[in-house]
């Protein structure tokens, strides 16, 4: 097990489009153990994506179970995740281990439906809402080379914006 180095903006490796995982083998699972340890080593981190540690593969981990009073699915390893449905929108505050000392408001879908695989290659289907849906969308953005900085909205004006959420 190891805590991996987290890349920080403006490292260009954060902008790469991550490739789908093709082999669900022991090497993948060993990497996921390290990735999770890296997430848990960061203060307050509830998610991490493989590109944040320089691995351009479509792997994310999300675990928002430490937050009180929210709906969640516990610890999630999502390999090759695909959001298949977006609904509603909500403004929320996000920060990122790859963007130290700054948080900003971002509009995300309130509810999403997601298809993915676990670390053994079994198919998964989830419906997420609220804070957990936000975390999943934030991490999947990393797989497409996007940071929350790419989606910042104005505090002054966008709290009231009526806008249909669209993927970039």
């Amino acid at each position: 097990m190891a805590v991996l180095e987290i890349l920080t903006y403006p490292d260009v490796r954060l902008e790469r489009i991550a490739q789908p995982v093709e082999r669900f083998d022991d090497a993948l699972r060993a990497f996921i153990v390290d990735l999770e340890e890296t997430m848990r080593a960061g203060p307050g981190g509830v998610g991490i994506a493989a590109p944040q540690v320089g691995r351009a593969e479509r792997i994310v981990i999300v675990d928002v179970s430490s937050k009180p009073k929210i709906k969640h699915h516990g610890r999630l390893v999502l390999v090759n995740p695909e959001i298949t449905h977006w609904e509603g929108f909500v403004v929320g505050r996000e920060g990122c281990m790859s963007v130290p000392d700054y948080t900003g408001n971002v509009i995300r879908a309130e509810r999403i439906t997601l298809e993915a695989f676990d670390e053994l290659g079994s198919a998964l289907h989830y419906e997420f809402e609220g804070y957990e849906a936000r975390a999943v969308q934030h991490e999947i953005d990393h797989l497409d080379g996007l940071l929350f900085l790419d989606r910042l909205v104005s505090r002054r004006n966008d709290l009231f914006r009526r806008k249909v959420y669209q993927k970039a």
Binding site: G42, G47, G95, Y102, H138, R155
Partner: protein, 177 residues
């Protein structure tokens, strides 16, 4: 220029709004060898306003000289103060407060007064007067830290019930990913 050196100034400019102010003021600063820090620039009731952190190797007089020609030609008032350049230490808000009501004198003092007593540290406050001349409404958004918890703030604003002011508190739960 190292942003951690101590030659920081707060430059404030106020005056009638027109296109091109930001470009001309910041060009004068850039050409004078200055470096910019955090800034808040906005239009308030037809006036352009800016608070701008500027890193400059000279003193307040030399920085004033650098931009005075531009601000005078644009009819803007300029003010420069020496400050501490405390970058990279952001304080994160944990509560967002939206306030609105029929506009009348005293709303800000009344609302922020009870919130301060209940432990609110304001990090950002913005307000607008909207509606129409005969029926103005006042809208305020605050982000801050609830030093004694959000329930303390909620109890505090309850005293405003029935005084024609709506106050909505919402926790800001920062998602770090």
């Amino acid at each position: 220029m190292n942003r951690l050196t101590n030659h920081w100034f707060m430059l404030t400019v106020v005056g009638k709004d027109r296109p091109g102010i930001v470009a001309r003021v910041t060009a004068a600063l850039y050409e004078g060898g200055c470096n910019l820090g955090e800034a808040s620039m906005t239009r308030l009731g037809g006036n352009f306003t800016v608070m701008l952190m500027v890193q400059h190797d000279g003193d307040t007089a030399s920085l004033t000289r650098l931009v005075a020609t531009v601000t005078e030609s644009l009819g803007l008032k300029l003010h420069v103060d020496k400050i501490a350049g405390d970058l990279y230490h952001h304080q994160e808000p944990d509560v967002r407060i939206a306030v609105f009501g029929a506009d009348r004198a005293g709303i800000v003092a009344q609302v922020t007064g009870v919130l301060a007593e209940a432990g609110l540290d304001i990090l950002d406050l913005q307000s607008n007067v909207a509606g129409s001349v005969d029926k103005p409404i006042y809208i305020m958004q605050i982000e801050g830290r609830a030093l004694e918890g959000i329930p303390a703030l909620e109890s505090a604003v309850a005293v405003l019930d029935g005084k024609g002011i709506q106050v909505h508190l919402e926790p800001i739960d920062i998602m770090i990913g």
